[in-house]
Amino acid sequence: MSAPSILRSLFAATFVAATTLSSTAIAVTEAKVVEVKGEMIDTWCYFSGVMGDTDATRGTSHHTCALWCAAGGIPVGLRTDDGEVYMVLKFEGEDALEETDTMMEIQSDIITARGKHYLRDGVNYIVVEKVVANDGITYMSHEDYDFVPPFAKPKKKK
């Protein structure tokens, strides 16, 4: 099996596990308004394993790549400290699903969001109605991982 194949199978399992752990056997009758605090992450690189350790796909080390992915239409997630990930379905002030304008401004930030939580097919989704607080980027992951991926490092002008 090729390395990408292994990663692919791993991330699928990781994603399912990460998004179902806290949600099983809960009889929900309607969407609950929740307030969650966590980091805005690039869900592709976080779950796919293409960038290695998930911690390397968060914070400052991955900020540039996270912008690329958000700009390209990759859904953004909100990851809490305990590892729960909420796929952001819609954001305050945005009309479209996955609209990227606001996402570009807050990618990698630690935010506290209030919104409606939906569980769908084992995945947590949130419709963010209000950003209660924004602590900015606080995870200085570049101190451990430098730039992830390495080619995200700006080239010096000659």
Binding site: T29, C45, G72
Partner: protein, 230 residues
Amino acid sequence: MSLIGKLPGFLTGKVGIAAALVLGISAGGLGAALSVKTELPANATPDPAKFSVDPSNTPGFPKVKGGDFDLVDHNGNRRTSKNPEGKFQLLFFGYSNCKAICSMALPAIAEAVDLMEEMNAPITPILITVDPKRDTVEGLRKSVGDIHAKMVGLTGTEENLGVAYKAFNLEKKFLFEHVEEGAVYSHGSFIYLLDAEGNFKTLFAPVISPVRIAEISAGYIAEGAKSATN
């Protein structure tokens, strides 16, 4: 303060999206970040025990309007949201020349289609273009077969495509003209599951594996005429 707030003005806001992607593409950024092949490991097969709609789904999921598009397929035939084959549909918005998320999502859909064929739960894959200038009927005819033999490519006028985008709350933006690849677009990347009538059933983030797409889709098909737990 967000780091992006410390970046030069051209790297923030709407212009920043394009600028960031230009930087990304020029450095192999997004394309390289997404260049993992969607191969299935040999032992990964759908689990029949999972062929049911998840009972813990939250009612009232903010489903998209769905349906209502009226476009032209890659053979030049009119195609609406209702599937003439009477099958469920996996719908994705993208474009043939996309080197980023489409190159990941479309092969994943193709794999899910093959898996569902083996599960005796056939489904129709559909690509609605966000690049009608290049994805003409002729252009799609040349490209969709490379994705999957059963892939249906849909194009149309900007007006008719706009109706489809609006029905699925899709955002698409022209970003820039790449020297070699031509027009580059940003677009939403959810994969939508529709029934044969074109009604929205659920959606998948592109990180969901083909196996899970197949299992979940088979659950909704098995549910039959019953509406999803909304």
